[in-house]
Symmetry: C2
Subunit: 262 residues, 2 copies
Amino acid sequence: LACLRARSLSGLPEVRPGDDLGALIAQALDGERPPHGLGQGDIVVVAQKAVSKAEGAIVALADVQPGDRARELAARTTAARGGKGVDARFVQVVLDQSAEVMRCERGVIVSRTIHGFVCANAGVDLSNAIEPDTAILLPRDPDASARALRSRLRELTEAEVAVLVTDSFGRAWRHGQCDVAIGCAGLSALEDWRGRTDSVGRELSATWLALADAIAATGELVRAKDSREPVVIVEGLERLVTEPDGEGAAALLRAVDEDLFR
Amino acid sequence: LACLRARSLSGLPEVRPGDDLGALIAQALDGERPPHGLGQGDIVVVAQKAVSKAEGAIVALADVQPGDRARELAARTTAARGGKGVDARFVQVVLDQSAEVMRCERGVIVSRTIHGFVCANAGVDLSNAIEPDTAILLPRDPDASARALRSRLRELTEAEVAVLVTDSFGRAWRHGQCDVAIGCAGLSALEDWRGRTDSVGRELSATWLALADAIAATGELVRAKDSREPVVIVEGLERLVTEPDGEGAAALLRAVDEDLFR
């Protein structure tokens, strides 16, 4: 009987630039009632904003000088939103984080980020949590962030866990957002069953599984929808956790020349 | 402490046309060791193929006469796959299930189905499980399937559960497939937090959540990758389960004129 459990970790403080996120997580684990901690093969799912804040991947809009293209896109986006103003400095940050703007329609900028993710606003969020009008960027290298956090948690808890860094992305043809993995260490982001059948020749219902994204989506179901609970612990998927860090969430990205929908 | 548990249901027989799927599920629940059953507010996640088989949404390729367009697309797809033959009768079934073929490149037919889903091969799978060369279609109306199964499970178990019917879909810019909800009864497929902040003004990490898809993805993590375990029970999300069936998974579909990537 395959069984999975996921719980959100409460008791984390608001994460600030320079914080040791691994230590904050270990501390929050120690405070769990009943005491629970991390087990071998647990998966630690961390929302991107907590990682970005700890790494200082933030920009104060006051320091941003928007260029012509940012002003133009901000005006288009503002118009498409019925006049609800979009800050050109925010758009400049989005452009700085983008390798390519793919669409700017209906008030949404969809781009391919410098990391290769396709998402709204290059994954940049506006926040007042640290100081007024702060842009929170995606981590510079989310797979490296996942590896570093995994290593730190191993030091602090002696548990060999996997770590996912997640963000909420919209989808091409479906409403709403789903959490996906943007960083991954210690599990294969994809599981390949292509061309295989089971022992009695039954068909397989899916053949190339984006497991890291499915685990990210599980995490979103248990954590609070604000930034107070950025960490979820998933148990029961030990079979997926590997000793090597693996190739990370980068393996989930389609190459630009494989994109059927440019 | 928010907590979620998901388990696969073992002991289901191979589902065949005309089977009472609700009764098969109730029977398998009775056989669980330890006895477990269904609780109020559990979510029953069922892989589409089991639903389609029970409903007889299958076509024997021997009965299909491919038209010119099917032959042409089959030839293109076969060529793109390096000569690995694609059956024109299968392509005809895909066309019959499609409202619009969106792409046929690199050996993949991506279409918008008659239901409005955008996916590979209009969700049609080839199977030898029932008889040789059988095409399994998506259910004719997956939301209606979910409602009917919910009602049947209420009769048999007295538990008010939610039901999701799921399938594995590829994504536009990411490798691999994730399970998504194609039918839904008894929970809101989307949760809307747009424009809201928490009590101390912290930003929300996601604002319009495709919860039904996240639950579908959770299901895929615990069931076997072949067709033997099409049913997963998710506990701990009672807060999402509603007495009305709700508007179903159809609410997840972007209208054609909102599609930024046609």
